[in-house]
Amino acid sequence: MIEIRDVHKSFGTTEVLRGVDLSVPAGSVTCVIGPSGSGKSTLLRVLNHLERLDAGEVEIDGELIGYRRHRGKLHELPDRVVQRQRAAIGFVFQNFNLFGHLTALENVAEAPIGVLGVPKDVAVQRGRALIARVGLAGREGAYPSELSGGQQQRIAIARALAMEPKVLLFDEPTSALDPELVGEVLDVLRDLAAAGQTMVVVTHEIGFAREVADTVVFLDAGQVVESGPPSTVLVAPSHPRTREFLARVL
């Protein structure tokens, strides 16, 4: 579903991604772990072209993201096309980023109506169903400021799901939460994984990765150091840097 080939990205003189290759099969859950500054978030952000690439390419469902190949060069796509691609890629942020002036239901229904052209009554009906799915039925009329962090993140997930995305990207979805609220968000992620949603989750929740991930990717200094099933990467890592990292976080 997702093919990442030799992706490079620098901010100024700092090279954040140094040739990342990764393949995410449809219906699988990939957890990306690694120390802060290792390029995890940047990797996620190049997947929906929130960041431009310096080199390499990203393909989702057979379509090159953000660029078009022409005579051996990659030309950046016009906004309109990038917008269409992004509409099919769900993104969940660390800080939720719910629209503050809209209610939970309006947050979920806004993009389907405005971007996909779904009729309002249909979008509202689906929005209610999604809010119920993340366990927040009854809170449709609440503004983000009236919700706890965990509830906001669950609405943010419902908002991403409303676009019926091919893939869902999570950027440290529980890092901004109080510890007692982490569980409710991870429960939603578990349900999605069980339903066969293709997901890439950047996370510090090693326990969650061990339980849910099909593939765990250990990223360090902008490179994939090790990847494989959690039973290998998290239990019997082959690389000393992975062992070192796990020893620090576990």
Binding site: N48, L50, D79, R80, Q83, R84, Q85, R86, A87, A88, I89, F91, F93, N95, N97, L98, F99, G100, H101, L102, T103, E110, A111, G114, V115, Y143, P144, S145, E146, A156, R159, A160, M163
Partner: protein, 288 residues
């Protein structure tokens, strides 16, 4: 239910220990060990004799002013002209001139603000240059420019153009400030959902920027209302010019200026009231 009742009673008793003056008996329960052994002394706030003096002086000054206004002014003249046709016509001109300036000024202001914030260096420089130029030129100078521009520009058109261009420079800065006050994460979330730039601005950024824009815009609007009086130099018959025309004939200068003043105060008060309600609307979703 039973347990909840107990908790309430308990809480009330607890609060009572802190609220009621201590009567010498041991309180029913206290977390402070000292309260149990030492009687609680009454607390006396410091006296502020200076306050009384300044208050009396201020009231005396206000009283003198009210007295002077009540006796020294011919209120009969004020009342006679307050709703005179010429004055009301002038008021209507002032009001629609203000409204047109506000609407056109802010439309242009939004465009200029987006220019200024655009990634395109030429547009950005253009936005900056406009604000720089039109904030530098005094309104009256600009009005005289348009007035003397030549054929086809009536005094009224000169007034509309001058006021709008002036307003737009300030509106642009107010809108820009409002846009910058919105968290960048809001834009990013909208972009990630596939929103186009214009939709992000219209549906996500501007509605939230309004919270910062409205108070400043209210200020600007009231300034504009009073600023329209400058167009009287172009012989546009606004509120001020209308009363000027009357007192040029009758020499009742002060009562007629009071007529204009009272109207300006009334309209400004109504605008302040409206601003309060608009602010409350845009504060929705924000925890106070």
């Amino acid at each position: 239910m039973h347990t909840r009742g107990t908790v309430v009673v308990f809480a009330l008793r607890g609060a009572a220990c802190f609220l009621l003056p201590f009567n010498g008996k041991t309180p029913p329960m206290s977390v402070l060990g000292d309260v149990r052994t030492r009687p609680v002394a009454e607390i006396v706030p410091a006296r502020k004799p200076g306050r009384v003096v300044t208050a009396v002086l201020a009231l005396a000054a206000v009283g003198w002013l009210v007295h002077a206004a009540a006796t020294g002014l011919d209120w009969g003249v004020v009342a006679r002209y307050f709703t005179a046709t010429a004055v009301v016509d002038g008021l209507v001109t002032t009001l629609w001139l203000t409204a047109v300036t506000l609407v056109l000024g802010f439309l242009l202001g939004v465009v200029l603000a987006t220019f200024r914030l655009s990634g395109n260096p030429v547009l950005s420089a253009l936005g900056w240059g406009y604000v720089w130029l039109f904030r530098s030129v005094p309104l009256i100078v600009q009005l005289l420019f348009w007035f003397n521009f030549g054929a086809g520009i009536s005094p009224l058109l000169a007034a509309v153009i001058g006021l709008t261009l002036h307003e737009a420079a300030y509106a642009a800065e107010i809108v820009r400030g409002g846009i910058l006050s919105v968290d960048a994460g809001q834009v990013e979330a909208a972009r990630a959902l596939g929103f186009g730039r214009v939709r992000v601005l219209r549906r996500i950024v501007l509605p939230q920027a309004m919270r910062a824009i409205v108070p400043a815009a209210g200020n600007l609007l009231i300034g504009t209302l009073k600023g329209t009086s400058i167009v009287s130099v172009l012989a546009v018959q606004d509120l001020l010019h209308s009363v000027q025309l009357i007192y040029a004939r009758t020499y009742e200068v002060i009562p007629l200026l009071v007529v204009a003043t009272v109207w300006y105060v009334i309209v400004t008060s109504l605008l302040s009231l409206a601003q309060h309600h608009v602010e409350r609307y845009f504060a929705r979703g924000v925890r106070s």
